[in-house]
Protein backbone atom coordinates (compact mmCIF):
# COMPACT_ATOMS: atom_id res chain seq x y z
CA UNK A 1 0.00 0.00 0.00
CA UNK A 2 1.51 3.37 -0.97
CA UNK A 3 2.01 5.78 1.98
CA UNK A 4 -0.56 8.58 1.52
CA UNK A 5 -0.37 12.01 3.12
CA UNK A 6 -2.40 12.86 6.23
CA UNK A 7 -5.50 14.07 4.42
CA UNK A 8 -5.72 11.08 2.14
CA UNK A 9 -5.04 8.72 5.05
CA UNK A 10 -7.81 10.39 7.05
CA UNK A 11 -10.16 9.93 4.10
CA UNK A 12 -9.15 6.25 3.93
CA UNK A 13 -9.80 5.80 7.66
CA UNK A 14 -13.21 7.47 7.47
CA UNK A 15 -14.37 4.82 5.05
CA UNK A 16 -14.41 2.47 8.04
CA UNK A 17 -17.72 3.43 9.64
CA UNK A 18 -18.29 2.65 13.33
CA UNK A 19 -20.79 -0.15 13.86
CA UNK A 20 -24.31 0.99 14.69
CA UNK A 21 -25.28 0.42 18.33
CA UNK A 22 -28.44 -1.33 19.50
CA UNK A 23 -31.58 0.74 20.02
CA UNK A 24 -31.97 2.52 23.33
CA UNK A 25 -33.71 0.26 25.86
CA UNK A 26 -36.68 2.51 26.53
CA UNK A 27 -40.43 1.79 26.38
CA UNK A 28 -42.57 4.23 24.44
CA UNK A 29 -45.65 5.73 26.07
CA UNK A 30 -47.87 3.93 23.55
CA UNK A 31 -46.28 0.62 24.42
CA UNK A 32 -46.75 1.32 28.14
CA UNK A 33 -50.39 2.22 27.58
CA UNK A 34 -50.93 -0.99 25.66
CA UNK A 35 -49.44 -3.02 28.52
CA UNK A 36 -51.69 -1.20 30.98
CA UNK A 37 -54.86 -1.90 28.98
CA UNK A 38 -53.89 -5.54 28.50
CA UNK A 39 -53.26 -5.86 32.22
CA UNK A 40 -56.64 -4.38 33.02
CA UNK A 41 -58.40 -6.77 30.68
CA UNK A 42 -56.56 -9.74 32.11
CA UNK A 43 -57.43 -8.73 35.66
CA UNK A 44 -61.10 -8.28 34.75
CA UNK A 45 -61.25 -11.66 33.02
CA UNK A 46 -59.62 -13.34 36.00
CA UNK A 47 -62.06 -11.66 38.39
CA UNK A 48 -65.05 -12.82 36.31
CA UNK A 49 -63.76 -16.39 36.23
CA UNK A 50 -63.11 -16.44 39.96
CA UNK A 51 -66.53 -15.01 40.79
CA UNK A 52 -68.15 -17.52 38.46
CA UNK A 53 -66.42 -20.43 40.17
CA UNK A 54 -67.34 -19.17 43.63
CA UNK A 55 -70.95 -18.57 42.58
CA UNK A 56 -71.21 -22.01 41.04
CA UNK A 57 -70.05 -23.62 44.26
CA UNK A 58 -72.20 -21.43 46.56
CA UNK A 59 -75.52 -21.56 44.72
CA UNK A 60 -76.25 -25.32 45.02
CA UNK A 61 -75.88 -25.21 48.80
CA UNK A 62 -78.44 -22.43 49.04
CA UNK A 63 -81.17 -24.26 47.13
CA UNK A 64 -83.95 -24.92 49.65
CA UNK A 65 -84.77 -28.49 50.62
CA UNK A 66 -87.29 -29.97 48.24
CA UNK A 67 -89.91 -32.31 49.68
CA UNK A 68 -89.70 -35.81 48.28
CA UNK A 69 -86.09 -35.42 47.32
CA UNK A 70 -84.16 -37.85 49.45
CA UNK A 71 -80.76 -36.85 48.10
CA UNK A 72 -81.17 -33.23 49.18
CA UNK A 73 -82.60 -34.10 52.57
CA UNK A 74 -79.64 -36.18 53.53
CA UNK A 75 -77.28 -33.29 52.86
CA UNK A 76 -78.92 -30.39 54.54
CA UNK A 77 -81.64 -31.40 57.06
CA UNK A 78 -80.94 -32.73 60.48
CA UNK A 79 -81.14 -36.52 60.60
CA UNK A 80 -83.48 -38.20 63.04
CA UNK A 81 -84.08 -41.95 63.08
CA UNK A 82 -87.63 -43.28 62.79
CA UNK A 83 -88.49 -44.77 66.14
CA UNK A 84 -91.48 -46.95 67.05
CA UNK A 85 -92.89 -44.06 69.03
CA UNK A 86 -92.66 -41.80 65.98
CA UNK A 87 -94.32 -44.41 63.81
CA UNK A 88 -97.18 -44.92 66.33
CA UNK A 89 -97.61 -41.21 66.69
CA UNK A 90 -97.79 -40.77 62.93
CA UNK A 91 -100.37 -43.53 62.58
CA UNK A 92 -102.44 -41.98 65.38
CA UNK A 93 -102.39 -38.42 64.17
CA UNK A 94 -102.33 -38.77 60.38
CA UNK A 95 -105.63 -38.11 58.60
CA UNK A 96 -105.33 -41.44 56.81
CA UNK A 97 -103.27 -44.59 56.82
CA UNK A 98 -101.90 -43.72 53.43
CA UNK A 99 -100.72 -40.28 54.46
CA UNK A 100 -99.05 -41.74 57.52
CA UNK A 101 -97.18 -44.21 55.35
CA UNK A 102 -96.22 -41.42 52.91
CA UNK A 103 -94.86 -39.37 55.75
CA UNK A 104 -92.82 -42.31 56.97
CA UNK A 105 -91.68 -43.45 53.54
CA UNK A 106 -90.83 -40.21 51.76
CA UNK A 107 -89.09 -38.40 54.55
CA UNK A 108 -85.97 -40.43 54.58
CA UNK A 109 -84.24 -40.57 57.85
CA UNK A 110 -80.60 -41.36 57.83
CA UNK A 111 -79.49 -44.15 60.02
CA UNK A 112 -77.44 -43.26 63.04
CA UNK A 113 -77.22 -46.77 64.39
CA UNK A 114 -73.65 -47.63 65.30
CA UNK A 115 -72.03 -50.43 63.37
CA UNK A 116 -72.11 -52.96 66.23
CA UNK A 117 -75.87 -52.52 66.75
CA UNK A 118 -78.94 -53.08 64.66
CA UNK A 119 -82.00 -51.06 63.97
CA UNK A 120 -85.17 -52.63 65.44
CA UNK A 121 -87.20 -51.58 62.43
CA UNK A 122 -84.70 -53.19 60.12
CA UNK A 123 -84.81 -56.44 62.04
CA UNK A 124 -88.61 -56.55 62.39
CA UNK A 125 -89.07 -55.73 58.74
CA UNK A 126 -87.18 -58.86 57.86
CA UNK A 127 -89.18 -61.16 60.07
CA UNK A 128 -92.16 -62.96 58.65
CA UNK A 129 -94.88 -62.67 61.23
CA UNK A 130 -97.68 -65.08 60.96
CA UNK A 131 -100.87 -63.67 62.23
Amino acid sequence: MPIPDDERFEHYLKQFRPLLPDALPISTPQRARRYWVFGLWSASAAAVIILGVIGFRVIPSRVPRQPGNPQRVGLTSPVRPLTMRDANSLLATAPSYKSALDEMAFHARGSTVPKDQQSAVAVLSKEKIKL
Partner: protein, 169 residues
Protein backbone atom coordinates in the same frame (compact mmCIF):
# COMPACT_ATOMS: atom_id res chain seq x y z
CA UNK B 1 -46.16 17.75 21.36
CA UNK B 2 -45.27 18.99 24.83
CA UNK B 3 -41.83 20.11 25.87
CA UNK B 4 -40.84 16.85 27.51
CA UNK B 5 -41.72 14.83 24.44
CA UNK B 6 -39.82 17.31 22.27
CA UNK B 7 -36.66 17.14 24.37
CA UNK B 8 -36.90 13.35 24.56
CA UNK B 9 -37.28 13.22 20.81
CA UNK B 10 -34.26 15.46 20.43
CA UNK B 11 -32.20 13.21 22.67
CA UNK B 12 -33.24 10.11 20.75
CA UNK B 13 -32.35 11.86 17.52
CA UNK B 14 -28.90 12.69 18.91
CA UNK B 15 -28.46 9.03 19.82
CA UNK B 16 -29.23 7.96 16.28
CA UNK B 17 -26.89 10.63 14.94
CA UNK B 18 -23.90 10.13 17.24
CA UNK B 19 -24.48 6.80 18.93
CA UNK B 20 -22.11 4.83 16.69
CA UNK B 21 -19.21 7.24 17.20
CA UNK B 22 -19.92 7.40 20.94
CA UNK B 23 -19.86 3.63 21.28
CA UNK B 24 -16.64 3.46 19.26
CA UNK B 25 -15.08 6.11 21.49
CA UNK B 26 -16.20 4.25 24.61
CA UNK B 27 -14.88 0.98 23.15
CA UNK B 28 -11.41 2.45 22.72
CA UNK B 29 -11.39 3.22 26.44
CA UNK B 30 -13.15 0.19 27.93
CA UNK B 31 -11.78 -2.43 25.61
CA UNK B 32 -15.17 -4.14 25.38
CA UNK B 33 -17.88 -3.09 22.98
CA UNK B 34 -20.73 -4.42 25.13
CA UNK B 35 -19.61 -2.44 28.15
CA UNK B 36 -19.09 0.58 25.93
CA UNK B 37 -22.63 0.33 24.62
CA UNK B 38 -24.00 -0.03 28.15
CA UNK B 39 -22.19 3.11 29.19
CA UNK B 40 -23.56 5.08 26.24
CA UNK B 41 -27.07 3.80 26.93
CA UNK B 42 -26.75 4.88 30.55
CA UNK B 43 -25.80 8.37 29.46
CA UNK B 44 -28.78 8.74 27.17
CA UNK B 45 -31.28 7.15 29.53
CA UNK B 46 -30.13 9.53 32.25
CA UNK B 47 -30.52 12.45 29.89
CA UNK B 48 -34.02 11.33 28.93
CA UNK B 49 -35.01 10.85 32.57
CA UNK B 50 -33.40 13.86 34.23
CA UNK B 51 -31.33 15.87 31.91
CA UNK B 52 -31.91 18.74 29.58
CA UNK B 53 -29.53 19.33 26.73
CA UNK B 54 -30.86 22.77 25.90
CA UNK B 55 -28.31 24.44 28.16
CA UNK B 56 -25.34 22.62 26.59
CA UNK B 57 -23.65 24.95 24.10
CA UNK B 58 -22.03 22.15 22.20
CA UNK B 59 -24.29 19.12 22.40
CA UNK B 60 -22.01 16.74 20.52
CA UNK B 61 -18.95 17.54 22.62
CA UNK B 62 -21.12 17.36 25.73
CA UNK B 63 -22.23 13.84 24.82
CA UNK B 64 -18.64 12.71 24.27
CA UNK B 65 -17.67 14.20 27.63
CA UNK B 66 -20.58 12.45 29.39
CA UNK B 67 -19.65 9.17 27.75
CA UNK B 68 -16.01 9.50 28.74
CA UNK B 69 -16.96 10.25 32.33
CA UNK B 70 -19.38 7.33 32.46
CA UNK B 71 -16.78 4.91 31.14
CA UNK B 72 -14.00 6.13 33.42
CA UNK B 73 -16.29 6.02 36.46
CA UNK B 74 -17.37 2.51 35.60
CA UNK B 75 -13.76 1.44 35.17
CA UNK B 76 -12.83 3.00 38.50
CA UNK B 77 -15.75 1.25 40.15
CA UNK B 78 -14.80 -2.08 38.63
CA UNK B 79 -11.18 -1.43 39.54
CA UNK B 80 -9.84 -3.00 36.41
CA UNK B 81 -8.20 -2.06 33.19
CA UNK B 82 -8.93 -4.63 30.54
CA UNK B 83 -6.73 -4.98 27.50
CA UNK B 84 -8.53 -3.99 24.34
CA UNK B 85 -10.74 -6.66 22.83
CA UNK B 86 -9.20 -7.91 19.63
CA UNK B 87 -11.89 -10.25 18.36
CA UNK B 88 -15.02 -8.11 18.13
CA UNK B 89 -15.26 -5.73 15.19
CA UNK B 90 -15.47 -2.02 15.74
CA UNK B 91 -16.11 -0.91 12.18
CA UNK B 92 -18.18 -1.79 9.20
CA UNK B 93 -15.45 -2.50 6.63
CA UNK B 94 -15.69 -0.83 3.22
CA UNK B 95 -15.87 -3.21 0.28
CA UNK B 96 -15.91 -6.12 2.77
CA UNK B 97 -12.29 -5.41 3.66
CA UNK B 98 -12.39 -7.49 6.85
CA UNK B 99 -8.62 -7.77 6.98
CA UNK B 100 -8.38 -4.00 6.70
CA UNK B 101 -10.84 -3.59 9.58
CA UNK B 102 -8.85 -5.96 11.74
CA UNK B 103 -5.64 -4.17 10.74
CA UNK B 104 -7.09 -0.80 11.71
CA UNK B 105 -8.45 -2.13 15.01
CA UNK B 106 -5.09 -3.57 15.99
CA UNK B 107 -3.24 -0.44 14.95
CA UNK B 108 -5.56 1.66 17.13
CA UNK B 109 -5.09 -0.74 20.05
CA UNK B 110 -1.33 -0.34 19.73
CA UNK B 111 -1.54 3.43 20.29
CA UNK B 112 -1.21 4.94 23.76
CA UNK B 113 -4.57 5.69 25.39
CA UNK B 114 -4.44 9.47 25.06
CA UNK B 115 -3.42 9.34 21.37
CA UNK B 116 -6.06 6.76 20.58
CA UNK B 117 -8.79 8.90 22.16
CA UNK B 118 -7.75 11.97 20.17
CA UNK B 119 -7.63 10.07 16.86
CA UNK B 120 -11.10 8.60 17.40
CA UNK B 121 -12.59 11.92 18.55
CA UNK B 122 -11.20 13.79 15.55
CA UNK B 123 -11.71 11.27 12.73
CA UNK B 124 -14.94 9.51 13.72
CA UNK B 125 -16.31 11.94 16.30
CA UNK B 126 -15.68 14.94 13.99
CA UNK B 127 -14.59 17.09 16.90
CA UNK B 128 -12.20 19.98 16.37
CA UNK B 129 -8.95 20.19 18.30
CA UNK B 130 -10.47 22.97 20.40
CA UNK B 131 -13.39 20.75 21.36
CA UNK B 132 -11.04 17.84 22.05
CA UNK B 133 -8.81 20.02 24.18
CA UNK B 134 -11.83 21.16 26.18
CA UNK B 135 -13.03 17.61 26.66
CA UNK B 136 -9.66 16.21 27.71
CA UNK B 137 -8.62 19.29 29.65
CA UNK B 138 -5.51 19.86 27.58
CA UNK B 139 -4.17 22.57 25.36
CA UNK B 140 -5.49 22.60 21.76
CA UNK B 141 -1.92 22.65 20.41
CA UNK B 142 -1.15 19.60 22.53
CA UNK B 143 -4.24 17.90 21.12
CA UNK B 144 -3.19 18.70 17.55
CA UNK B 145 0.38 17.52 17.99
CA UNK B 146 -0.68 14.29 19.70
CA UNK B 147 -3.08 13.70 16.83
CA UNK B 148 -0.42 14.13 14.15
CA UNK B 149 1.92 11.83 16.03
CA UNK B 150 -0.81 9.24 16.45
CA UNK B 151 -1.82 9.44 12.80
CA UNK B 152 1.75 8.82 11.74
CA UNK B 153 2.01 5.80 14.01
CA UNK B 154 -1.27 4.45 12.68
CA UNK B 155 -0.12 4.82 9.13
CA UNK B 156 3.19 3.12 9.84
CA UNK B 157 1.50 0.30 11.72
CA UNK B 158 -1.05 -0.34 8.99
CA UNK B 159 1.54 -0.05 6.22
CA UNK B 160 3.81 -2.52 7.98
CA UNK B 161 0.94 -4.97 8.31
CA UNK B 162 0.04 -4.58 4.66
CA UNK B 163 3.63 -5.14 3.61
CA UNK B 164 4.04 -8.17 5.85
CA UNK B 165 0.91 -9.69 4.34
CA UNK B 166 2.23 -9.01 0.86
CA UNK B 167 5.64 -10.48 1.66
CA UNK B 168 5.19 -13.91 3.22
CA UNK B 169 8.88 -14.14 4.27
Amino acid sequence: MDRTEGSRGDIEFLYRQHGAALVLFASTITGERSRAQDAVHQVFLKLIANGDLSRAQDKKAYLFACTRNAVLNERKFQDRHEPLEMDAAWFSPPHRDIAGERNLRRALAALPDDQREIVVLHIWGDLTFAQIADLLSINSNTAASRYRYALGKLRDEMSAKENSCADPR
